[in-house]
Symmetry: C2
Subunit: 306 residues, 2 copies
């Protein structure tokens, strides 16, 4: 059973009862709740030593930044505004407390940058690995929320930055696109959004499946969003830069379906990177239109959790 099969099982078993409080449950970047007329969003992300990071290779401060950063990226995908975060961790007994303090310094640093107070959590000692789970509460505050499920045939697909090769640096230094998401959503007909954490080829499938539509990506457009890191990594791996841009995870840019063609997108109040990569179509699956004009399926080759 792969992760998506499991999540589908979970949706059926855990989310089977309708509840007036739950507007969006399992399956989007965050859940959306209606609490006595107030819309709030809730999501969490877990990082595990040895899977998501290696304490020998990155600093505890970087891990702290990333632990909250990935949650803030989910929040960006909903165009929501962070309200508060909880941090739970379990650490090996041997881990010195000053490493934990550096971890929290990274957390507090990015929490301050996004005006998101840390309000609680839990702590344990005695696990083999450092495990961190961050839960984030957010509000729409007049903008959004934007779901994965709102894309419509005819929408254009855009990304907010260059893709691929994040493992060289960006997976620890990315900036959650909260400001960009809220600016785009406040000013443009944004129909659907997802953050690119598993890799473009996987995440575009998620967006399409939830929106009951397909996507046609254009190679000439994708060429413009290949990051320098993807090209650098390509030299080492022998895989094409495009392959890296499509299939590397943890770019933490947004994939946005907007009901406007590139030439019709107005100038935004502040400069906001927005690169067209293709269109939403009334069909199933994701295809790539190559520079040669041929059309081939894009298999989901990004990160798989199970």
């Amino acid at each position: 059973m792969d992760e998506w099969t499991f999540i589908n099982w979970l949706r059926e078993h855990a989310g089977r009862r309708s509840d007036p409080r739950v507007k969006v449950g399992i399956g989007d970047d965050m859940a959306i709740l209606d609490l006595a007329g107030q819309t709030v969003l809730l999501g969490s992300d877990m990082l595990v030593e040895g899977i998501h990071f290696d304490l020998g290779k990155v600093s505890a401060r970087q891990i702290g930044r990333k632990a909250l950063g990935v949650c803030l990226s989910d929040c960006a995908a909903m165009a929501a505004e962070p309200s508060a975060a909880l941090v739970s961790f379990s650490k090996p007994k041997s881990m010195p407390v000053d490493v934990l303090q550096q971890f929290y310094e990274g957390l507090v640093e990015i929490a301050d940058e996004f005006d998101c107070p840390l309000v609680g959590g839990d702590s344990c000692a005695g696990s083999d690995q450092l495990v961190v789970d961050v839960a984030l509460l957010a509000v729409s505050n007049g903008v959004g929320p934007v779901l994965r499920s709102g894309a419509t045939p005819g929408d254009w697909l855009y990304v907010t930055g260059k893709l691929g090769g994040s493992i060289l640096e960006k997976h620890f230094s990315f900036v959650p696109r909260i400001r960009e998401a809220r600016r785009l959503t406040a000013n443009l007909p944004v129909h659907a959004m997802i953050d690119l954490s598993d890799g473009m080829s996987v995440d575009v499938q998620h967006l399409c499946r939830e929106s009951h539509c397909g996507a046609e990506l254009t190679e000439t457009l994708l060429e413009n969003v290949i990051s320098p890191a993807a090209r650098q990594l390509s030299d080492r791996t022998g895989r094409s830069p495009l392959d890296h841009a499509l299939n590397d995870g943890e770019d933490f840019e947004l994939l946005v379906a907007i009901g406007l063609a590139p030439q019709d997108v107005p100038a935004l109040p502040e400069k906001t990177d927005l690169f067209p990569v293709g269109k939403v179509i009334d069909a199933q699956g994701v295809h790539l239109v190559t520079q040669a004009g041929t059309r081939r399926p894009v298999p989901p080759r990004g990160y798989r959790h199970f």
Copy 2:
């Protein structure tokens, strides 16, 4: 550095900025937030295989129940009403998916009992141990919230059930005291509350420290709240039943400071166990008045996380 020293460091470093949204941050059973006039509560609890449970000794279903149950017990300590839960887990790659499904069946079972939808979370595979973190969103909905910090000298201290020996069974079969907490708070002058997770001797200190007061427990009263399991365990350990009642963790009953003496507590709409154990006093520390009439300090000997 022990857990409490670390949490104090964290309170200073993570919670140092005042934020109009944060009514209560790190340090109570849940955080309290004010989102545009709506009060919401947020808390999380992490369980780790080998620390909190052993998959050879309990079923995955029981672990699922407990994972949400401990969060619901925190919610009870605030007299709050659960709104939604997030579940994040990391599992060993070798763990069969059906074990995970049993885990979720336990979770869904208790979620249904407390009308608390599961709305999201995260999943990873590749850790040495099963690690679960549950985050809970709750609302006050006209009752409470009750803090740890509201106890006043002259209040009586009560517990909602018998204490000690939970390791024999109750630490996996406890019932979160949400209904009791809301009934007590709606009907009586409840000034402060905490759930007994680390052990009475530790948790009463938490309540006293947050309330800037002391407590005097009465041995003759405590004799009435020693559980059969505490007596049974005493036979094996040679420690007194009272020692078990005071120092065993995971009873998940509530310790409640109420501004009424036992003889003045009116009958409640539904039967609610409430046993007096002592009084809040205008002093520091926690003392026990023995049956012989002597007075001795109660050292905090419950579960320590670090």
